[in-house]
Symmetry: D2
Subunit: 355 residues, 4 copies
Amino acid sequence: MSRNTFGHVFRFTTWGESHGPALGAVVDGCPPGIVLTETDIQPFLDARRPGQSRFTTQRQEPDQVRILSGVFEGRTTGTPISLMIENVDQRSKDYSEVARAYRPGHADYAYDAKYGFRDYRGGGRSSARETASRVAAGAVARLVIPEVFILGYVSAIGGDAIDPAAFNPAEIGRNPFFCPDAKAAERWEALVDKARKDGSSLGAVVECVATGVPAGWGAPLYAKLDAELAHAMMGINAVKGVEIGDGFAAAANTGEGNADPMRPGNDGPIFTANHAGGIAGGISTGQPIVVRVAFKPTSSILTPMPTITREGEATELFTKGRHDPCVGIRGVPVVEAMMAAVLADQKMLHRAQCG
Amino acid sequence: MSRNTFGHVFRFTTWGESHGPALGAVVDGCPPGIVLTETDIQPFLDARRPGQSRFTTQRQEPDQVRILSGVFEGRTTGTPISLMIENVDQRSKDYSEVARAYRPGHADYAYDAKYGFRDYRGGGRSSARETASRVAAGAVARLVIPEVFILGYVSAIGGDAIDPAAFNPAEIGRNPFFCPDAKAAERWEALVDKARKDGSSLGAVVECVATGVPAGWGAPLYAKLDAELAHAMMGINAVKGVEIGDGFAAAANTGEGNADPMRPGNDGPIFTANHAGGIAGGISTGQPIVVRVAFKPTSSILTPMPTITREGEATELFTKGRHDPCVGIRGVPVVEAMMAAVLADQKMLHRAQCG
Amino acid sequence: MSRNTFGHVFRFTTWGESHGPALGAVVDGCPPGIVLTETDIQPFLDARRPGQSRFTTQRQEPDQVRILSGVFEGRTTGTPISLMIENVDQRSKDYSEVARAYRPGHADYAYDAKYGFRDYRGGGRSSARETASRVAAGAVARLVIPEVFILGYVSAIGGDAIDPAAFNPAEIGRNPFFCPDAKAAERWEALVDKARKDGSSLGAVVECVATGVPAGWGAPLYAKLDAELAHAMMGINAVKGVEIGDGFAAAANTGEGNADPMRPGNDGPIFTANHAGGIAGGISTGQPIVVRVAFKPTSSILTPMPTITREGEATELFTKGRHDPCVGIRGVPVVEAMMAAVLADQKMLHRAQCG
Amino acid sequence: MSRNTFGHVFRFTTWGESHGPALGAVVDGCPPGIVLTETDIQPFLDARRPGQSRFTTQRQEPDQVRILSGVFEGRTTGTPISLMIENVDQRSKDYSEVARAYRPGHADYAYDAKYGFRDYRGGGRSSARETASRVAAGAVARLVIPEVFILGYVSAIGGDAIDPAAFNPAEIGRNPFFCPDAKAAERWEALVDKARKDGSSLGAVVECVATGVPAGWGAPLYAKLDAELAHAMMGINAVKGVEIGDGFAAAANTGEGNADPMRPGNDGPIFTANHAGGIAGGISTGQPIVVRVAFKPTSSILTPMPTITREGEATELFTKGRHDPCVGIRGVPVVEAMMAAVLADQKMLHRAQCG
C-alpha cells in the first residue's frame, strides 16, 4: 500500500513523478485565516531549486508554485490547499538503458520488486524531485508556527566537518553549500568540484535547529516529537541516519556527562546543557530542537558498477546525465520543511488535547 | 493529543503506568488462524524482565502475560488480542521528592508542561516499564512474519564496541549483556559494575538485523520501511539516534565506496555489499535489514544535579532507588519487538496493495 | 483487516468476546485533568445492563467497570485510560449446534467467510455484549463535553410510535423501554410481552438529541459531523438505518417545506425550524443535533428457520437460550454513548484547527 | 480540523472550490498494473455533469479530467494518481448578497461559525461541485473491483416512488432522472418541471445495488462495511438519511418477517431473502449490497426566506442564479462512486488481513 500522506492533523499528500507533467501537494487541516500567497512559498522552493550552481544538478526547473484551492482573498479558508508545480525541463533523453537494467543504489530494483513495474524516467516517483512538494507544504507549515525559527545547514561533506567555533549563521546564505563556516565552505568547494569532475559523489550531514518551540509539544507514546522527526527525516531521499541532540555520542557517554541540569528562569527553567536536543519523553522541553541527518552520497556515479537487467542478466551500468554530486546540499530546505511540518502538526495535536 | 497506537494495519495500542495495577496492549488486525498461546509471548517478556542480573534494575516483576481476547481454541480469530501484564512489585516508597521536583533528563518536566499534572510514581506512563507491552505485542507480530528471523544485540556500551571479527550469535544468550563478542562481554562486566557502584550510568548501542525479508515491503513515500523503523526505534525510551545500514558512516563516504553492486542469483539478485541496510527507496531489497539504535545513559544517577521544583525554585536531586545502570541492555528485546511490529505491518500493507 | 478503534483524536479501542474472561476499552487522547472515577462510568453501564426486566435478555452481568490506567489521584493524566469489565455469567451451555450451523440473520456465516473460523460462543466478538465497552468509553467522552446534554429514547417498537405531543423526558426513566410517552410504554409492555412469549422479536427506532453543541463542530468533507454520526450509529449491532433531522421525510419534501429560516438572537441566530437536525454542510449550526436510528428485530427467534451447516448441508435452526426480544431497547445507552464519542472527538478536532 | 481524505488503504483526497481555478482528487494506494486512461473516468463525470437537461443546473462545465501522475504507459504504477478538473463556467456574477447574508439551509452560517470566514462564491468548498472529484476517484475505484457491478438509480422524487414491479434497468439511461420505471419518469418530468418553474425544489431517494461482492468484505467493529457505507453516503452534499437493506422498515418488522433463511447453493449459500441488504455483522454475505440514500430538496429556492446577515441583522434572501431543482438526481453517479470507493477499500483491507 502506498502512503503518500504525512501528518496527523496538519497533513499533506504529495503526488507526481520526475518526468510527469507536474507534481504537487494537498495541504489539509491548515488553520483558517492565515495570510498566504505564492510569494510565501516560492523562496523556499527557490532555495531547493536545481541548477543554481555547478554543485547541484544542471536540470533547469523554475519550480513555480501555483495555489489552486484553499485560499480566498489572500487568506487560508481551512479547506485543502492544493499546490502545483509544473515540470518543465524533463529532457527527452533515451531511457532505454535505465529501463533495461537496475541502477545500483537506486530504488529501481525495489520498485520493480514491489509493483512489478516502474516509471523509469528519472526515477519516477522515487526521484528527489518529489521533495519540491514537501518544501512547498513545509512553507505553509511555517505559517502555522510563527513562534518558531528553523535553521538548517550542512555540517559535513564527505567526512569534512565544520568547526563549531566558526559557526556563523550569516554565512549559510553566502555559499552554495548552506555552510555556516566560511572556511569549510572553501574546502568543500574543492572537495565537491573534485567529486563532480571525477564523476563521483559525496555524502553529507545536515543539521537543523528549531528555536521557539514551547515546552509541551509531542504526542506520547507513538507520535513522540522525536519519533515523528525521525520518521520525517528518514523518509527523505538518501537519508540513512537521524540523531536528536547528542545522538550516537550519548550512547558513549555517562549519566553525569549527558545530564541537562535545570535552574530557575523567568520563562520556565533554564537548562544548562542540551544533550537531549530539546526533547524528553517525546515532548519538547522548551530548549532548541536539534536534529542531525545523514545523507548518503548520490548513487548516480560515472564509475560503471555491476548490476543486473530486468531479466536477471549480469550487466554494468553507470549513470549518465545530470545529477547532484552531493545530494545532501539540497537536502537542507527539505529537512527544514519536514521540521516545520512535524512542528505544525504537533502544535495542533497539542492544542486538540490540552486546549 | 495522546497517540498510543502503533502501526497501520497490524496495529497495537498500549496502556498502563509503572505503578498502576497493570499494563497491556491491544493488538488489532492480526490475521486469523495463527496458533497463539501465552507461551508464544512469555519468553520475550522474560528476556526483557528486570531483576535477572545485577546489571539491570532490581525491581522484581514476573511479567506474566494473559491473553484476554482474540484467541479461540488456541488460534487467533482476527479480532483484537488483549494482552495484560499485572504489576506486582510497585514498591510503596515515598515519592514526595519526585512529586516536588523534576528529575533532570527525565520526562518529568515535559509531562507537567504538557498535561499540567503527572503520575510521578516511577515515571508513570513515561517509564520504560511500558516497553513490556511492546514486547508482548511484538511477540504476536513475529508470528505474522514466520519467514523473517530477527536478531538483536548490544554492539557497544559506554563507547566500548564489540569486535566485528569476534561476532558470534551463540554468545548473545550466554552473558547478561546480549553481547555477541565474549571478550567484550567480559570488559562490559567490569565497566557496568563500576558504573553501578559509582551510582553512574552508561549509554549503549543496539543493533538489530532481520533476515528473510523479501524484496518489496515498504510503503513509499511517507510510510517507507526505513522511515517506519526510525519512527519505531526513536520512540523507545532513551533512544537518541537511529541508523539504517551504514548510517552516518555513509555521509562520510563516496558514491563508489557506498555502492551495493548486484549480480545475478538464483532467487533474485545477489548484492555484493549491503551499505544500504537492505532498503532502497523505502522498500526492502531482499538483503538483511540492518538497524542501529543509540540509547543514552540512564538519567537516574546518584550524583546530585541542579534542578527546579514544580513551583520553579532551585533545588538538587539525585535518584534513589532501583534503576538500570545501562538501560540499553534491556533495550534489545524492545528493539526486536519494534522491528517485528514494523515488518508485520509492512507485510500486510504490501499484501493489501500488491496482492 | 480488523479495525477496532473509533475516532480521530478522542479515540477508543475495544476488545473482548461475549464468552471470554473480560472485555474492555482503551480510551486515548482524553484531555488531562478531568475528574474521573468508576462511579462516573457505572451508571451508564447499569442502564445498558441486561437482566433488569423481563424485556431484556436474562443473562446476569454486573458489568462492573475497573479503571486500570490513565487516572492519577482521581484525575485523567492525558495517557490511555484502560477500562475493563469482567464477564461473569457466561453460561457453560452446549454450543455444538451453533458451532455446526449458521444462525440466519446473525454474523455467523459472514465471520466464517471472512476469517475461515469463528468464536461461536454467544456470537463471540459480534455479540451485542461488546457494546458495554462502547458505553464505558462514551461515559468518558461525556466528561469531555460538559456543555452538551444528550438524551436518547425509544420512539417506536414494532412500528408502534410514540405520540410527539405526549413527549415527556421525565417518563424515560420510569419504564423499561426508555419511552418518553407513558401511554406508548403501556402498549409496548403488551407488545413486547407477546413477542417474548411467542419466541418472536421486534424492531425499534431510537432517537437521540444533543443540545448545547455550539455552531462550528464538524470536519468537512470526509469527517463531517453527520457522516461521523452515521458511521457511529450504523456500526452498532442490529442497526439498519440512520437519519439526521428529518431524514427520509426530507426526501419527500419541497425546498420551502424543508427550510430552516433564521432570525437574529442574542447568542447567534435563532432558527425557526430544525429540519436539518442541527447540521449544515457537515458542521453543527448550534441547533439540537437530532439522530434517528433503526434497529432490526433480534435475529434470535424460536421459529425454526432453514439454514446451512459449516459443511454446506441444509438444516434448520432456532435460537435457544437467553436473548433480547427487542434489542433496540438496550440500544439507547449505546446510541447515547456513540453520540458522546463523536461529539468529544469533533470538539477536539475543531480545537486543533480553529484554536 | 479539516479531513479531506476518504478511505483506509484505497484512499483519495479531494481539493477545490466551486469558483476556484480547478478541483481534483489524489488517489493513493491503488494497486499497480491497472490499465487506466482518462477515458476510463470521463463517462462517469459526463453522467454527473451539469447542464445536460433542463432538470439540472444550467452551469456549463465540460468536466474534462486530466491524469497528472501515477500512470505510466497506460497503467497504474502504485503511486498517487492525481486527477484534475478545471473549472470553466464560473460566472463572474455579483456575490455581494451571499457574502453579506447567510442562505438558509446552506452551509454558509456553519462555515462562518467554524472558520470565521468563507469563500462565498458558489458555496466554495461546500458546493456540490466538489462531488466531481469523488466521481473521478470512484471511477478509479471501480477498476480495483472488476468483479463488482454497481447500479444506482433514483427511486423517488418529492415522495413519488417508482413501482418496483416496473423496475427496468435499461430505462435508467433513457430519461434525465436515472429512473428505472418509465412511467415514473414521465410523472417526474411534470413534477420537476413544476418545481423548477415555481422556483421550488424537491427531495429524492437514490438506491444503489452492488452485485458480485463476495462474502467476507468488511472490517469489524469500527470499519464495518455498513458503517463505512453510511459514512460515505451521509457525507454527500444534501444527504439526510441512509438505509442498508430494509432499513427503517426492519424497525417495524418482526424477527420472522425480517429473516434471511439460507439453503445450500453451488457457490456458497443461497439466501431466500435479502432484508439485510447483503451485510451481517458488518461483513458482506455474498448477497447484493443494497443502500438507500435520502437527498433533501435543494436549499436554493426563489421564495424569499428570513435569514440574518454576517453582522446578525434580520434580512430576507432568495437564491438567484443557476441551481438544481432536485439535487438528488445528479446524486446517482456520486452515490455509485462512493459505493465503489468503499468496496475497493474494503477489498484491500480484507486482503491485508486475510490474504
